[in-house]
Symmetry: none
Subunit: 224 residues, 2 copies
DNA sequence: GCACTTCTTAAGCGTTTCTTAATTGCCTCG
DNA sequence: CGAGGCAATTAAGAAACGCTTAAGAAGTGC
């Protein structure tokens, strides 16, 4: 998102009556900027960052299709929705293949347009949910751990596995044998765990991994 | 992309006549897998990786909307297109807000469906916007790299491809096999990558490409 | 066809990471 | 408070992995 609150939306529509109408319709949910021809659309689209664009098909100076193609060729990946009266399938194919992400025909339903725009601007946090550990965030894929202040520390494979195992179930106390069988070779001595706990405490901070005397290790606090 | 050639497509459609028909329609452009109820769709959608999904609205066992919501709640971000007979605006809003990315009503135009699927699977990462890598800028043609001080170094084809692949997703760690399958012949030994990384480091600067021991290589930071 | 560049393979060497083990320090219970 | 057990720390050998080099193969242009 470009702004902290509402997504920014660039509306390119030449119809003097319809343009302001759509802008007003979208105003509660987006920061709307209205331009009325293709050349202005290209300029504003290239020089400013937008979260989504709504582009009319038939535009003066520069056609909507040409505008989209120009934006895409310049590396602009912003989601684009075409809004137009031309509704037959061939036109839709041309518009979508020019680089648009969705195609809505006039007359359109305001609710549907809004829903389609939501679908375009929606982002999924599909990223392998980073495990949070106190002030730290573990990224298993990247084998590193980031503090909340940008500071990043890289971990070795075993360090990462041990930390991930502990962090997977916060507050649970793991015995050395449990941790061993999870990610280390069966032949390993339980003392291996002690060594890696030490490495981790040195890399991160002492307080993160708690020792439960006579039992094992734990992240977070169980009792008290 | 999941496969090197065609994108993979999961089709969830219970109509015994329509399902195979759509599958055949899409077959030239996608690796299609057809399942006929929501529960199977959920299972296959969660356990295998797909480039795009086409889901019928009315499904036995588990409704299409419920299926999409379940997939999204599990962190599946794959583009989803709803294909259904229910066409009024309210239904579209419900479907899109459940997490679908596009909504097509039956009867549909084959060309439009294909174009909308292309729009969903299209990525703009391939756009030759000059990739910036630290103090360097990779030329779109990928055959040379310029430092911020005018200094230019020419790269061989493979060097450029490898660097571009890494730079396309900064901070992501690529395994040797991923990099191999991207731009080298499948028969190549993973050691090829090591050699090219070495070449690049000598031409540019050592710090640009980071080694993640036991995993692969990365551009961007995660160091300290 | 020849010279040159680029690509690929492979092997030795150096570094990082993993594991073991011994020493030192600390906690708990009698 | 002291003994015994448990944990923390350190160091060093072993193993895995990556870096570097060099040389032959394949490709390209003249």
């Amino acid at each position: 998102m470009t702004t902290a609150d509402r997504p920014s939306l660039l509306l390119v529509e030449d119809d003097a009556a319809l343009g302001p109408l759509i802008a007003e319709l979208l105003y509660p949910d987006y920061h709307v900027r209205l331009v009325t021809n293709g050349r202005d659309g290209l300029h504003v689209g290239l020089t400013e960052a937008w979260d989504v664009m709504v582009i009319d098909r038939g535009l003066p100076v520069m056609d909507g299709i040409a505008l989209i193609a120009a934006l895409r060729s310049k590396g602009i990946g912003t989601p684009i929705l075409i809004l137009t009266a031309l509704g037959d399938a061939e036109e839709k194919v041309r518009g979508l293949d020019a680089g648009a992400n969705d195609y809505v025909t006039k007359p359109f339903d305001a609710g549907e347009l809004a829903a389609r725009l939501r679908a375009l601007t929606r982002t999924y946090a599909a990223v392998p949910a980073p495990l949070s550990i106190g002030d730290w965030e573990l990224d298993p894929a990247q084998r590193s751990i980031r503090s909340v202040y940008g500071h990043t520390v890289s971990l070795t494979a075993k360090e990462g596995q041990l930390l991930a195992a502990l962090a997977a179930e916060p507050d649970r106390v793991f015995t050395r044998d449990e941790l061993l069988s999870a990610h280390f070779h069966a032949s390993d001595q339980p003392g291996v765990i002690d060594t890696y706990v030490h490495h981790l405490r040195r890399k991160i901070s002492k307080a993160v991994i708690r020792t439960v005397h006579g039992v094992g290790y734990q992240i977070g606090d169980a009792h008290e």
